[in-house]
């Protein structure tokens, strides 16, 4: 009688510790590369650091005051926000239009669905190199087609717009596939009811389909909002923040402070500010979600 009880107790003791073996690898890496650096970034942003990253003394909010008085960083904040404000709605909106026209399955739909979603397989670097040639003032196809002589990436008024166009292009495929599967999931009766009531294509898209896929659209907005506020790759590859700081973003600025100037005071403070702005933007989207997103159907 005693034996099985002992055996059972032994087993529970082992079972007690067993989950640790499965969870340990994940939490060790999360600890070293997510929790720890996050805590370090936030806490050390209140200290004076030397160029080796060593903590010198507590200085409170001084790093933040200094960063926010730096006109190049303030400009970077506005550039990041402008980039986000234009990239996110355009890439979701265009993807929605594409999903609307592709919603019905036809003989050739696999062909154009693949073509619509192709940009999502492209990396930032390769897209940047291709668009750099397309927007080249002398050799590029854009100026050749339009007959203009705009300097695009070399002009402070147009450079950020070029980056916005490239990013919208890169985002379309991913957003399209998401919205397409949501649109195809809609109850056919609801669409037919709209047809019976004589709704035109535009009314059908905005009054019937859009409310029904609003949870997906909301997910995409949240998802791309954070990514776009953090954009740095295109800027670092194509313009290095220029001309005249017109394409500097918060993260490209942070990157340069750390890698070129070894100024960790500025780097950590700007990282925390970028994180704060992302949080605020996400909260605003969530407030909007309560009003605009319809989960009932």
């Amino acid at each position: 009688m005693g034996k099985p009880v002992v055996k059972k107790r032994k087993k529970t003791l082992f079972q007690k510790f067993e989950p640790i073996f499965y969870l340990a690898p994940a939490f060790i890496f999360l600890g070293i590369f997510v929790y720890y650096p996050f805590a370090k970034t936030v806490s050390e942003s209140f200290f004076l650091l030397d160029s080796m990253g060593k903590v010198k003394e507590f200085i409170g909010l001084e790093n933040y005051v200094s960063v926010l008085h730096n006109s190049s960083f303030v400009k970077a904040i506005f550039n990041s926000l402008k980039f986000t404000v234009f990239t996110v709605p355009f890439s979701v909106g265009l993807a929605f239009c594409l999903a609307m026209i592709a919603s019905k399955k036809r003989k050739t739909s696999p062909i154009y669905e693949t073509l619509f979603s192709l940009p999502m397989a492209m990396s930032t670097s390769v897209s940047a190199m291709i668009f750099e040639l397309m927007f080249s003032p002398t050799l590029g196809i854009i100026n050749a087609l339009t007959g203009s002589s705009i300097k695009w990436l070399n002009d402070k008024d147009t450079a950020l717009w070029v980056l916005i166009i490239i990013q919208v292009w890169m985002n379309i495929g991913y957003n399209f596939l998401f919205i397409l599967s949501a649109v195809r999931g809609i109850d056919a009766d609801k669409l037919e009811a709209a047809d019976v009531e004589g709704a035109n294509v535009f009314q059908k898209a905005t009054k019937v389909v859009l409310p029904l896929v609003s949870p997906t659209v909301f997910f995409l907005l949240c998802n791309s909002l954070a990514k776009m506020i953090m954009m740095s790759g295109l800027s670092l590859i194509l313009t290095q923040g220029g001309p005249l700081g017109s394409t500097e973003t918060m993260i490209s600025w942070m990157y340069k402070q750390a890698s070129e100037n070894s100024n960790y005071n500025n780097a950590y403070a700007s990282a925390v500010i970028a994180f704060g702005i992302t949080m605020i933007a996400t909260i605003i989207t969530f407030i909007y979600e309560k009003k605009g997103v319809n989960y009932d159907n």
């Binding site: 690898p25 994940a26 939490f27 996050f38 192709l118 397989a121 190199m129 040639l133 950590y268 990282a271």
Partner: protein, 280 residues
């Protein structure tokens, strides 16, 4: 008769519509097609500018230049090692944790799960500099391990795999235990083989994500021969004037692996997106 005519008309209309959609698709894919076409052009034609898309004379000269004047193959190899290494480790780490969250009981399981999921809210760029400090203090600058170590875990992947594991019938697991199967043996010999589809999805998305990543490998490498292909391609230096042909050739070479994976596993990638998201 009228219905017949309407049907016929709508059939023709549908055909025209499909043709328009394919043209629209080609417009969206145009930058990719453009890069490929330019890569086969002679330098003189590239330099002429204007709207000329079809190479007058198809040449492989640009590919030769791209492959000989830059260690492009070395860059590809570096990227391959990092993408493979990071994806394999991530798959192992994530599925172990997902198994614990799906099948094992332990105190504060929900809280721990939430703490794990909360990391999704922290963008990689925010911790970039602090991670650079950590990796450099470990002496991992210019090493493969340093380039891939930050990609070894993804809360999103753990979540995706847990969701997939949860669909496995608990009764089958209990039956396995009665047969004397330990948790680990169950995990390795029964659970993983029945979830190959999800594992493949996670692997492919992790591979594409790591292959395409730019900023982190840029930060932790400064030797040319340790650059990944995404970093290397932005630093190619060719003699002035002939520059774009070889760069488009290099771009074409670099996008082939991801485009190939995308075409082959399109359905799997879409399924993966719906259950979590491609991190790129």
């Amino acid at each position: 008769m009228t219905t017949n005519r309407v049907k016929k008309r709508s059939k023709v209309g549908d055909g025209i519509l499909q043709a328009i959609y394919i043209c629209l698709g080609l417009t969206i894919a145009f930058p990719i097609i453009y890069a490929v076409l330019i890569s086969f052009m002679e330098p003189s034609q590239v330099l002429a500018g204007g709207v000329n898309l079809i190479p007058k004379k198809w040449t492989l000269e640009n590919y030769k230049t791209a492959l000989t004047s830059a260690p492009l193959m070395r860059f590809m190899l570096n990227s391959l090692i990092i993408a493979l290494g990071a994806s394999v480790v991530r798959l192992a780490v994530s599925s172990l944790a997902a198994f614990a969250f799906a099948f094992l009981d332990f105190p504060c399981k929900n809280v721990i799960f939430m703490v794990m999921l909360a990391t999704i809210m922290i963008p990689a760029d925010i911790v970039l500099v602090a991670n650079y400090r950590t990796v450099s203090s470990m002496g991992l600058i210019n090493t493969y391990l340093g380039m891939m170590i930050v990609f070894f875990v993804s809360a999103m992947n753990i979540f995706q795999l847990r969701q997939s594991f949860l669909t496995f019938a608990v009764s089958l697991k209990e039956a396995a235990h009665i047969d004397g199967c330990s948790n680990f043996k169950f995990f390795l010999t029964i659970l993983l083989p029945t979830n190959v589809s999800t594992l493949l999805t996670v692997f492919i998305t992790a591979f594409i994500g790591t292959w395409n990543t730019y900023l982190w490998p840029l930060l932790v490498t400064n030797q040319t021969d340790m650059r990944t292909v995404q970093v290397g391609i932005t630093m190619l230096n060719f003699s002035e004037g002939t520059v774009y042909g070889p760069i488009m050739a290099a771009s074409t070479i670099v996008m082939i692996p991801t485009l190939f994976l995308f075409f082959t596993f399109q359905k799997k990638i879409v399924a993966g997106m719906m259950s979590g998201g491609v991190k790129g």
